[in-house]
């Protein structure tokens, strides 16, 4: 049963695009990715108009102070399970708006992010590739959870001891979040 649901989730990611104070560059590229040329309906990806229908939040921009509570609210309105993609350099780290008086430093300053897609602006190919890779990753995670449920002996006090079960993805991220971000411009670029 779990396998069927994983398959369905992998085949039908519906995205919600939210501009959190972006310069509009990443937004135009996101809309580009939805156009017939790239035809993302091949992967079952659909653009949805309300957070209630969406599975993946594609957020762009460095998150202005005005947008931060709204971004949080939209995130909370999305039904579980949900994933977040930070699209563009600003969304990943704050970009050129880093340390600006009216901005936060990227989406992960407000809500947890599952995937960073760098680029100024992001190319549609990178965005599509990012979504596909994110789905593969979350599928693996769900598989590991099922495995841990079926064979509790391989999990010890919430930590998996088997190599087949990947570690909690948030475990090492919280450290880097607190550390000063100078010099850490962009995460690893997505291969296209």
């Amino acid at each position: 049963m779990g396998r069927i649901i994983d398959w369905a989730r992998n085949r039908s990611p519906w995205i919600l695009h939210l501009n959190c104070g972006s310069c509009n560059g990443c937004d135009i590229e996101t809309i580009d990715a939805l156009m017939p040329r790239y035809d993302i309906e091949r992967f079952g990806i659909q653009q949805k108009d309300t957070p209630r229908h969406a599975d993946i939040l594609v957020a762009t921009g460095p998150v202005t102070e005005q947008m931060a509570p709204r971004l949080k609210r939209v995130y909370e309105q999305m039904p579980e399970p949900k994933l977040v993609i930070a699209a563009g350099s600003c969304a990943s780290t704050g970009g050129v708006f880093y340390d600006c008086y009216n901005c936060r430093e990227g989406i992960d300053d407000v809500i947890p992010v599952d995937m960073y897609i760098p680029g100024c602006p992001t190319s549609p190919e990178a965005l599509i590739d990012g979504i596909v890779k994110l789905l593969a990753e979350s599928g693996k995670e769900a598989q590991a959870e099922r495995l841990a449920e079926k064979k509790p002996e391989i999990v010890e006090e919430g930590t998996p001891i088997d190599e087949a079960v990947p570690k909690e993805p948030d475990a090492d991220r919280t450290e880097t979040d607190d550390a000063p971000q100078e010099g850490a411009d962009e995460p690893e670029p997505v291969e296209v």
Binding site: A8, P36, D39, E41, T50, P79
Partner: protein, 329 residues
């Protein structure tokens, strides 16, 4: 026939064919074909075959939240009402022969009523979900309902007037016996096609959904399981509407209806698929080649153009009937 056998065939009709299982599969297939053809008309590749099933299963497995401002009881009941309506409607539409699964004199009225249930369930669900967007969407749904229901009813009554019966099975038998009526009823068929498109809230009549203005209108707060049910309702409504149109205006299982036995049964089902898929393809092409109308333009077109045409159609049917009976020389 014994009671047990009656009960068994009734359950078979209800659950397998042409009831639940058949409608579920055919509804999802129709959605796939609709989306694929739409994509091909836009020069795209389109979704894979299993896409509608994946969407449905994914939505079933998602969280289905009830908003704080919603009236929970109505909000939860709305998706089921519409779905029950369209599933029931199919039992009175002939599929494999001129005889429907269940039939009585006047079942055409019941089918038309059951087919407008989804619009009302959408209205109640949207209105009581406590969201401004969905309220605007539902008022548009009802405004649009008043626009298309009258032409749709008039168009569906044209073959009823010709056959002199309000039973769907009787109408199919009549059109089968007089195949030339298919041409007489062409204007009514066109009106019914447009009204069905408006009933399903597809382009150019997707004013209540209007993604760019209303963020999906009435369904704005629905998520997870309830949204899946609403989507399934739309798919099944498309199939039932296409089946009703093919029964009323295209003669149902017309060329295959005369064949006896199991061969006739299979031939009837094949003809059913050919005709309903033709209707669905027509609706898809219409969706692909035109843009959305405004709400007042839509009501305007339906009241000023389609209602008079439907009335003329009924007059024409009466005249043809009198002529064939030899009253008018």
């Amino acid at each position: 026939m014994s009671l047990e056998l009656d009960l068994a065939t009734g359950l078979l009709y209800l659950l397998v064919f042409p009831g639940f299982a058949f409608l579920f599969v055919y509804g999802l297939t129709a959605e796939y074909l609709d989306r694929k053809l739409y994509a091909r008309l836009q020069n795209r590749v389109g979704p894979p075959v299993v896409q509608p099933l994946a969407d449905f299963l994914k939505l079933l497995a998602k969280e289905s939240a009830v908003p704080e401002d919603a009236t929970a009881r109505i909000y939860n009941a709305a998706p089921w009402t519409g779905l029950a309506g369209v599933f029931t409607a199919m039992l009175y539409v002939p599929v494999w022969s001129e005889q429907a699964a269940f039939a009585f004199e006047g079942d055409l009225v019941v089918v038309l009523f059951l087919l407008s249930l989804p619009s009302f369930s959408l209205f109640f669900g949207g209105w009581y979900s406590g969201n401004v967007f969905s309220r605007i969407g539902t008022t548009r749904t009802i405004t649009q309902l008043f626009g298309y229901e009258i032409p749709f009813f008039l168009a569906c009554f044209a073959p009823a007037v010709a056959a002199g019966t309000l039973s769907t099975s009787g109408i199919v038998a009549f059109v089968e016996a007089n195949p030339l009526y298919v041409f007489v009823l062409l204007p009514a068929f066109a009106i019914a096609l447009l009204s069905l498109q408006a009933k399903l809230e597809r382009i150019p009549f997707d004013i209540p959904e209007a993604e760019t203005e209303l963020a999906t209108g009435a369904l704005v707060e629905y998520s997870g399981r309830k949204l899946a049910l609403f989507r399934l309702t739309k798919d099944v409504e498309l199939v039932v509407g296409a089946a009703l149109l093919s029964a009323l205006f295209l003669g149902g299982p017309a060329p295959a209806g005369a064949i006896e036995g199991s061969v006739g049964l299979v031939a009837g089902v094949v003809v059913f698929f050919v005709k309903t898929l033709t209707v669905i393809a027509l609706l898809t092409v219409l969706k692909a080649v035109v843009a959305r109308l405004r709400i007042e333009q839509m009501v305007d077109v339906f009241y000023r153009v389609l209602v008079p045409v439907a009335l003329v159609q009924i007059a024409l049917v009466l005249a043809v009937g009198l002529y064939t009976n030899g009253v008018i020389p």
